[in-house]
Amino acid sequence: MKQNSKRVNDVILQTAAIIIFFIIVIFSIDLFFAGHYSPGGGFIGGLMTSAALVLLLLAFDSKTLANVLPIDYRLMTASGLLIALATGLHSVFLGRPFLTHAYGKFDLPLLGEQTLHTAIAFDLGVYLVVIGITLTIIQTIGESE
């Protein structure tokens, strides 16, 4: 967002935003991983992360945000789409129909026995696309004069 001509006193918002930002992001990541068993998933997680980013955007401005997080959100959208598509395609090469997921139980270091599921990769694609498009739209509208 562009800097207002009149300086606004938003020290409280800015200070709080930084702390809240991390809380929301951590919560959104939790939401993302929780998806398969309890409420959550890539879509909600992605929206939550973008909400956190929007909070930063409101508290500071788009230039600051771009300096702190130099991410090309259009690239993010594209890579998210590619990840989702590749997840769908992997089963084709194994001779199964498009978008057939695979899963199994694995013993992971530190985490113990966990179920790994290709759906998580698909969901990661959704997650990235959602963040990418939200921020692309908000940034382009916010930056245009």
Binding site: G40, L47, I137
Partner: protein
């Protein structure tokens, strides 16, 4: 996935690496990497020659969409192998040539070779697919890659024009062909070409036989640039010369010929088939050669000559159908037409390929292709001159080159109409040899023009943009190989007879082969004082006379006004359709979102109310409903009040906040009804969209300082009430009319067994209905990029206002 499928897809699989090789290895020309692909493929396909010449076929299938009868079946028989060898063989030579033709420092080779490889796969797919839907897919892919390659130098207006023209015409034909394919499938219940051939009797009895045939032929004629669709080919010459040599003379334009040859067993019983193809082909042969003579651009001459030669082969394929009806002696005289077609197809690829490369060399070394400026290059470019002479004389049909042999066979086939007593061939059919003769005369003239105007005559080197010199050796290798083939096949034509020509002809006549008729391919130089020999002598004499007296009759070309030419008509149609579209669009596209919303809402509720009335679904009962808790009343009241209050707000900010209240209220409803996922989504969406609204309004102009209350508009109120009523009715009815059991039971039972998940909503999103999600994120991505481009373009337009104006003008034209 078999090796054969891999071979078809190899160029496509190699394509993604090309841009990286182009960027990463600047010092090596990217073409050297690309060259590996066609060389590997040509050796691979050469391995099939013993199989097909023994009369066997190879079939490999992978299931693609078995439930729709669409499988990727690769099928190698004589005909498809011949084309596969042409595609990969000429492909290798063209890639080699392009390495010297395209400068690695100036051109964006990454794009070029990606398009070229895309084309190679597509073309292999066309000729090796048995399933017609798969073939259609590859067919359109050739059109797309051709479009990209013609528009390769997209800064040039002519390139864009040519690319668009070829795209419009060939895709029009492709779509017609798709219609024909669907009709054929409806007759026999299979998309397989082999099934169509076996069931050709069923197809012949269908009432849609002719429609299907015409649609399929439209596809073939547009692709192979037959009259009146030939007009795209000369404009396609804006492509780089290697592309013209490859796509627009040797391979892609022959896809139509392939299709006709391939579908011959299905349709060739019909007299319409014979007459349409022979007639259109013959006229194209004449018209192309007639127009080639007036061209001044070397590539223009070659383009029209390609049109003419394609017509020649097409007419031969048409005449070949007569072999089925001929029951004279044991030696089937009409088979010579098909043999000639296949033989000329090979010959044309050799001499036209070398001529195109010659034209490219001349252009590259002198800077122009205009024959009015060229001349006398013989002394400085002796090797190129030799290649040009060999190619031109072969094209003119003179001995001892391969063109002479196939041309003689062509003339022989046309004279055979006298001995046919069916389909009125012996009456009106007499026109065929006459047109063939006239066309050959013009062919002779432009062939002679081609090398005399360029290499002989007075040298005018001062008029040339560059100082001419002989091309580098690498550039000469490919045309020299082709020229050697022209000579070699001229002297030893029978090298090909049993290995390539015979199997290909046999695949065109499966019924005759089944009856035990022998396809006998013997090509001779000398077959006595036959009519065709006298025709050739006549062509040479008359052609030389006309060439000598050229200035006296060239005036006839200016007789037709541009408006009435085919190109004029094409341009006129484009302008007219653009204008009509704009006029239609301006009627309803007002530019105000409020009007669009009204269209959408009126249509929505209109459709819904109509179908409720039409299907008589207007019934609902309020039994079996849950008790409404007091807090739900409160929440409902809050949501309604907030929505109503928006109408009475004077400024934007409170409106946005009230809108947020509505949204959060709905989210709370989700919480009450036990849908945590929905509630979460709704909450976050609401938050983000309130922020978005704020942003948008922040940038909106303050239209007036004193913000007045929105005026009451009767029309809007009616629409709003209508939509509200419709939605309410629908939701009541959705509760009452349950005709099918809900799918949620299935999800509940299988969510853990099938998808190893416990959250049903999320499993539905990523697994059960993952396809929906995939498309949804694609749509979201498109929306985001759409907003991005719209806003960014607007800002660039404002800085360079003239560019925008120009762009608008161009779209209007």
């Amino acid at each position: 996935m078999s090796l054969l499928h891999l071979a078809i897809l190899l160029p496509l699989l190699a394509a993604p690496f090309i841009p990286f090789l182009f960027r990463g290895m600047k010092q090596i020309h990217t073409g050297w990497f690309v060259l590996i692909v066609p060389v590997v493929l040509v050796t691979y396909f050469a391995g099939f020659i013993p199989i097909t010449s023994a009369g066997d076929v190879v079939t490999e299938t992978i299931a693609w969409m078995p439930s729709l009868g669409i499988n990727f079946t690769a099928y190698v028989d004589g005909l498809s192998l011949l084309f596969a060898l042409l595609i990969t063989g000429i492909g290798a030579l063209v890639v080699l040539y392009s390495i010297y033709y395209l400068n690695k420092d100036k051109e964006s080779l990454g794009h070029f070779y990606v398009y070229l490889l895309m084309f190679m796969s597509a073309m292999l797919g066309v000729v090796l697919s048995d399933n017609m839907i798969v073939m259609y897919m590859f067919w359109e892919l050739t059109s797309i890659s051709s479009f990209l390659l013609i528009g390769y130098w997209y800064e040039k207006e002519r390139s864009r024009y040519g690319a668009q023209k070829s795209m419009l015409l060939t895709v029009f034909g492709g779509l017609s062909m798709l219609g024909g394919i669907v009709l054929l499938e409806s007759m026999i219940g299979s998309y397989s070409i082999r099934d169509m051939v076996t069931n050709s009797g069923v197809i012949a009895e269908s009432p849609f036989f002719l429609v299907a045939m015409v649609l399929i032929l439209l596809g073939a004629f547009t692709k192979s640039a037959q009259f009146p669709f030939h007009i795209w080919l000369p404009d396609a010459m804006e492509a780089p010369t290697p592309v013209s040599a490859y796509l627009h003379s040797a391979t892609m334009v022959k896809a139509g010929l392939y299709l006709v040859a391939r579908m011959s067993p299905v349709f060739q019983e019909s007299s319409v088939w014979l007459w349409t193809i022979a007639g259109v082909g013959m006229f194209t042969m004449f018209w192309g050669s007639f127009n080639a003579v007036k061209q001044t651009d070397l590539k223009g001459i070659l383009a029209f000559s390609t049109v003419s030669q394609l017509g020649l082969i097409m007419s031969l394929l048409g005449l070949g159908a007569a072999a089925l009806h001929y029951d004279g002696m044991d030696d089937n005289i009409f088979m010579v037409a098909t043999i000639a077609a296949i033989f000329h197809l090979i010959n044309h690829a050799t001499f036209k390929g070398s001529l195109f490369m010659m034209a490219g060399i001349v252009d590259h070394e002198t800077g122009t292709r205009d024959i009015r400026k060229l001349g006398g290059l013989m002394t400085v470019m002796p090797i190129t001159f030799t290649i040009a002479v060999i190619g031109s004389l072969s094209m003119a049909g003179l001995p001892p080159f391969n063109g002479f042999l196939s041309k003689e066979m062509f003339l022989k086939a046309t004279t055979k109409v006298f001995s046919a007593d069916f389909f009125a061939l012996d009456t009106i059919g007499i026109l065929l040899p006459v047109i063939a003769f006239v066309g050959s005369v013009f062919t002779f003239i432009y062939s002679i023009m081609l090398f005399t105007r360029t290499f002989m005559g007075k040298a005018k080197f001062d008029q040339l943009p560059k100082k001419p010199h002989e091309a580098p050796i690498g550039m000469l290798i490919s045309p020299a190989i082709l020229a050697l083939l022209v000579v070699g096949l001229g002297f030893f034509p029978n090298v090909l007879s049993n290995s390539l020509i015979k199997p290909a002809v046999e695949s065109i006549y499966p019924t005759l082969v089944a009856q035990g008729q022998e396809v006998d391919v013997h090509i001779y130089f000398w077959h006595g004082l036959t009519p065709e020999l006298f025709m050739t002598i006549g062509v040479v004499l008359l052609g030389s006379l006309l060439f000598w007296q050229m200035g006296k009759w060239m005036g006839i070309y200016n007789r037709i006004p541009h408006r009435l030419t085919l190109n004029g008509m094409y341009d006129g149609t484009l302008v007219w359709s653009n204008k009509a579209a704009y006029r239609f669009k301006d009627n309803y596209m007002t530019g105000f979102i409020r009007s669009y919303l009204i269209y959408i809402f009126v249509f929505l509720s209109g459709m819904m109310l109509f179908s409720i009335w039409w299907f008589d679904m207007y019934r609902f009962s309020f039994e079996n409903l849950a008790e409404i808790a007091p807090y739900e009343y409160v929440l409902g009241a809050v949501v309604m009040l907030a929505a109503l209050a928006i109408l009475f707000m004077r400024s934007r900010l409170p409106s946005i906040i009230l809108l947020g209240v509505v949204g959060y209220g709905v989210a709370l409803f989700f919480v009450f009804f036990g849908a945590p996922d929905l509630a979460l989504t709704q909450l976050v969406i609401e938050t983000v969209s309130v922020a978005l609204f704020l942003l948008v309004f922040y940038h909106m102009p303050d239209i007036s300082k004193k913000e007045v209350r929105m005026r009451f508009k009767v029309g809007n109120a009616i629409v709003a009430i209508l939509v509200g009523t419709t939605v309410m009715l629908l939701s009541f009815m959705a509760l009452t009319n349950k005709s099918l059991t809900s799918i949620s039971e299935y999800y509940k039972e299988n969510v853990y067994e099938l998808a190893a998940g416990k959250n049903m909503v999320n499993v539905v999103l990523v697994d059960f209905r993952g396809f929906d999600t995939l498309f949804e994120i694609v749509v979201l991505g498109i929306a985001a990029f759409g907003i991005y481009t719209m806003i960014k373009f607007r800002t660039t337009r404002r800085t360079k206002g003239e560019g925008a104006h120009e762009a608008k003008q161009q779209t209007r034209q």
